[in-house]
Amino acid sequence: MFEIASSDCCPSRNDEERMDLTELTIKQAHEGLKNGEFTSVDLTKAFLAKIKAEDKDINAFLSVTEKLALEMAEAADEKIKSGKFGMLCGIPCAIKDAIMVEGQKCTAASKILENYVAPYDATVIKKLKEQGVVILGKTNLDEFAMGGSGENSAFGVTKNPHDKTRVAGGSSSGSAASVAANMAIFSLGSDTGGSIRLPSSFCGTVGLKPTYGAVSRYGLIAFGSSLDQIGPIAKNIEDAKIVFNAIKGNDAKDATSADLKDSEDSNSKFQISNLRIGVPKEYFALQRGSGQVKGIDVEVEKIIRNAIKKAEDAGAEIVEISLPSVEFALACYYIIAPCEASANLARFDGVRYGLSIQDGDLLDVYLKSKGHGFGAEVKRRIMIGTYALSSGYYDAYYKKAQEVRQLIKQDFAKAFEKVDLIFCPVSPVPAIKIGERTDDPLSMYLMDIYTVSVNLAGLPGLSMPAGKVGDLPVGLQIIGKHFEENKILSIGEEMEKLLK
């Protein structure tokens, strides 16, 4: 394998044309590959050069899989020459470093897995490989997917490409930043309480959290097993749809993956003019300074209201709905998720894999491996989870939270009797400054106020760019009923045109 110096990339093209390749969408890249304008190797080299030039300032990638990428690109080019290939063949992407790619490091952005090499492919990776994608590298995240800013990575924060003094958002920080900075055409992230939607909102990308069960979790390092979902982050809705369709589906290796026949949803045509759109009144009523819940930023609210107005002008019926349990959603999530995490992370004990400090007796191995290997936020969440599940506290915290989870599900069920989709904000604020909330964990958790209830109810949720506050993107969230991703994506496409 030859060295990639930037001057080697696409020697027949000048610098300007080479930069254009990284701006392509999946569809545009596919057309170019089909028409022989460039090869997947050309495309891949362009992205590798872009990453080499720019990622030192952004830190989206924890590892760049150059050798693998070029091998995959060459294999894709063979497929393309044969004439039989799909939309994703030869398309360079980035994968959140909590999703296993065989033979490559999978660190979960933690010291405890710093040198761990994945022994198998996640199901979503297997599916993408069958499509012939090119994997450029593994992207940065909050450690074990715990965080909303990207600042909890053991390997440095990912900067927001729109303003490098600000965070990219978390936990899929590198996945969103890589797409936003044209260092990948699309990426995969994971979402437990907003981790695809929030960084997408902050970085101006499209991010889809599928319905719980729509995409296999096999090969995703587990955080909150009743909440986690893998999903696409892309430059536009059409691309997100292509990736979602490639990764979704029942998997025998994930007992929680849904057994879906092609639902009505996938073949129906959806139009905004036929739609009833729900707007949760409680999501805008939380005023700044009242109680412990900070209200929505005035400029963010304007952007969301504007998007809703555009939908109304296009013929949608806007219906005010009530989701009263939003008051409890954050507390509910920040009990259930840490509880599940405390169980899921018990396996990192220095025995079978990962960091292992062999001093003393067996208990010392556990204490020291975890003590040295886990970061502060991970420790915090393990402690919260252990506390809430412990004898004497289980009823007051975990059991109560599960009961409240039912209330949240019921709120959405009631709302979806009256409306087809829900429009609301993704985050109460645009991208925060690096360091702004790191001293106050609770203030960091409050950014998740609009996203967590969607995971608790297992519903699908999309973040799509709706405007900017200065340079900072703001996302509109579209929530649908279970397994109605196609409805959300179709309406999202109409909204893309309306918001141009």
């Binding site: 761990y116 022994p119 929680t256 409890f328 954050l330 920040y334 919260i384 412990s390 039912q406």
Partner: protein
């Protein structure tokens, strides 16, 4: 404010070693977070159980049997352990 003893007790349950400074910070952080959870006391009881569980969700079971793996797979997995012998993962004595 959650006590130092309580933090140390939870840390022991979680098999997590915390420095004195970490214990102090944990007291502060956990207290604030646990106070926030008091909010849930206001929540009403839900009307029904599992109202919004679509028909597609059901228990998926498999036979309780161990499946033979390829030698290469076994090698890869055992290879990741810090301490191994003769194809087994070595662990320090429990007692």
């Amino acid at each position: 404010m959650i006590s130092k003893e309580e933090v140390e007790h939870i840390a022991k349950l979680a098999r997590l070693e915390l420095t004195d400074r970490e214990v102090e910070k944990m007291q502060k952080d956990l207290s604030a977070i646990l106070d926030y959870f008091d909010l849930l006391k206001k929540a009403p009881k839900s009307e029904k159980e599992n109202l919004y569980t679509p028909g597609v969700y059901k228990n998926i079971l498999r036979a309780d049997e161990s499946l033979q793996q390829d030698a290469s797979v076994v090698e890869k997995l055992i290879g990741q352990a810090p301490d191994k012998k003769d194809g087994y993962i070595k662990v320090k004595a429990i007692f």
